[in-house]
């Protein structure tokens, strides 16, 4: 089954302070593969690590998706996504080990792969995947970050964490160790859903309420939504690299495949 009809746009920006952009994004409506990576490491190694990881997953998935049977099979899809992330880890790790300059480099990685009426989400690190469904923003990923652990264990309440100094500490990344365990999640891609992948340069500076408002109001124009989100992060200080990928599952065309009661329900919920 081909990917559903989706509208896709991605923007990546060095931000207002940093000289280099260590984020890498790839998004392709034809294959349904969205990848976003936020690299780390000295001497511009972050750029190398994020580029390497994205190239591996995009390349591997192109082959794997072509070999999958036509029917959307979430399990086979999830297995392919997991395999490509594990290989990305191995490739970045080997490169880091082989080079004195790039030793210790790593990267976060967030992936969304759309196929049929399903989407497989995967991530390592603190890059996030959100979804706007029925006009409500949901965070679909759990950050691999010290701050998140800190909140889960009750050291501090989420609302009290404004003044934290732990925003930049991730607990898991691609390329750091010989092995990595990615987080995987399979979801239904409903007509009208808007998925958004971002690096922490966005959610550290733009509140969820503002992200929600932008996606709600500008959902019809996916390139503008991505641009406005990055712009909002830069206008709020833009201290880090900022990357955003916005994907809208087409409601008009894809909705035609659903029974009329379903379309009426969607229309009513909106």
């Amino acid at each position: 089954m081909p990917p559903p009809l989706i509208d896709v746009a991605g923007v990546t920006d060095a931000g207002t302070v940093r000289q280099y952009n260590e984020d890498t994004i790839a998004c392709d409506a034809a294959t349904g593969v969205m990848a976003l990576a936020d690299g780390m490491g000295g001497h511009r190694s972050g750029e190398v690590a994020s580029r390497m990881a994205v190239d591996v997953v995009v390349g591997d998935l192109a082959g794997a998706l072509a070999g999958l049977p036509a029917a959307a099979d979430p399990e086979a899809l999830a297995a392919a996504v997991q395999a490509c992330m594990i290989r990305a880890n191995a490739v970045v790790h080997a490169a880091a080990q082989a080079s004195a300059v790039h030793y210790g480099m790593g990267t976060t990685l967030a992936l969304a792969v759309f196929r049929g009426d399903r989407v497989v989400l995967a991530h390592v690190g603190d890059s996030r995947i959100y979804r706007l469904r029925f006009n409500r923003l949901q965070l679909l990923t759990r950050d691999d970050s010290l701050l998140r652990d800190q909140i889960d264990l009750g050291y501090i309440a989420a609302a009290e964490a404004v003044g934290t100094h732990n925003r930049n500490l991730v607990t898991r990344a691609v390329g750091i160790g010989a092995e990595v365990v990615p987080h995987l999640r399979d979801e239904a891609a409903l007509p009208g859903d808007v998925y958004m992948l971002c690096s922490d340069g966005l959610n550290d500076l733009v509140d969820d309420a503002d992200i929600e408002l932008v996606l709600q109001t500008v959902r019809a124009n996916v390139p503008l939504a991505a641009q406005l989100l990055v712009q909002a992060a830069k206008d709020n200080g833009g201290l880090d690299n900022v990357s955003v990928i916005v994907v809208r599952v087409d409601d008009r065309v894809a909705g035609a495949a659903h029974p009329s009661w379903w379309r009426r329900l969607l229309a009513w919920l909106r």
């Binding site: 302070v17 679909l140 100094h165 607990t171 898991r172 503008l224 909002a232 709020n236």
Partner: protein, 228 residues
């Protein structure tokens, strides 16, 4: 390197470094920071280090713990925070922990809990409940403006442009947003074959900086932009 400095009338009574171990604060002589004032409970508060944060926790003290005058149960200490116990002042000194957004690059650190598939799965599903506020936007000032509805479903009326975007027109037909930026407000085309009009002239694809008194027609809405 962070420090706790206890002072009385400006004279330093005691000081110690805060490292990776928990510190107790109280009147009890066994406390790491002994606060010899009737306002302090024997076991009054503790400082718990987590990553680069030092979290001040009230230990159920009789008088409560006040940071810069505000009562707290738990608080992430910021450079310069002062806790008052009667005549004694306890100051947290850590130039690296200023309220400014952290400029440090992303780094890897060991997590706080063992990774278990079941826990991860459950936590992932409940992620929606977590709303960590974004970092305080320092030094960013947005201008003020409003729109006056002259025609359409929302007229007559006035609305402040106090969010990042505000939509005008009809979704699916012709929709525009006014985008709030530090340097001003911009009109932006979102969707529709038609074009909005600003002061009677068609608005193009490029964002347009709005001026006080501009009259904008979008679908069946007409609004006036009011700066200030």
């Amino acid at each position: 390197m962070a420090k706790l400095v206890l002072s009385s009338d400006g004279a330093i009574v005691f000081q110690c470094f805060v490292d990776d171990a928990r510190l107790t604060i109280g009147r009890d002589p066994g406390s790491d920071v002994v606060v010899d004032d009737p306002a302090a409970s024997p076991a009054h508060a503790a400082v718990v280090p987590v990553g680069k944060d030092h979290i001040l926790e009230d230990l159920g003290s009789a008088g409560g713990t006040f940071v810069n005058g505000a009562r707290i149960e738990r608080h992430i200490l910021q450079h310069g925070d002062t806790v008052v116990f009667g005549a004694l002042h306890l100051r947290y000194v850590n130039p690296r922990a200023s309220a400014d957004v952290d400029l440090d690059r992303t780094m890897l650190i060991a997590g706080l809990q063992p990774a278990s598939a079941a826990v991860e799965e459950a936590a992932g599903r409940s992620a929606e409940s977590l709303r960590v506020p974004s970092a305080p936007a320092m030094r960013v000032r947005f201008p003020h403006a409003a729109v006056r509805f002259m025609r359409g479903p929302r007229a007559p009326g006035k609305r402040s442009l106090d969010r990042v975007v505000a939509a005008f027109g009809t979704p699916g037909t012709l929709l525009c947003v006014i985008v709030r930026r530090p340097q001003g407000f911009y009109l932006c085309h979102v969707e529709g074959r038609g074009r909005a009009k600003v002061n009677g002239k068609a608005h193009g694809a490029e964002p347009r900086l709005l001026h006080d008194g501009d009259v904008i027609d979008v679908a069946d809405e007409r609004v006036e932009f009011v700066a200030g």
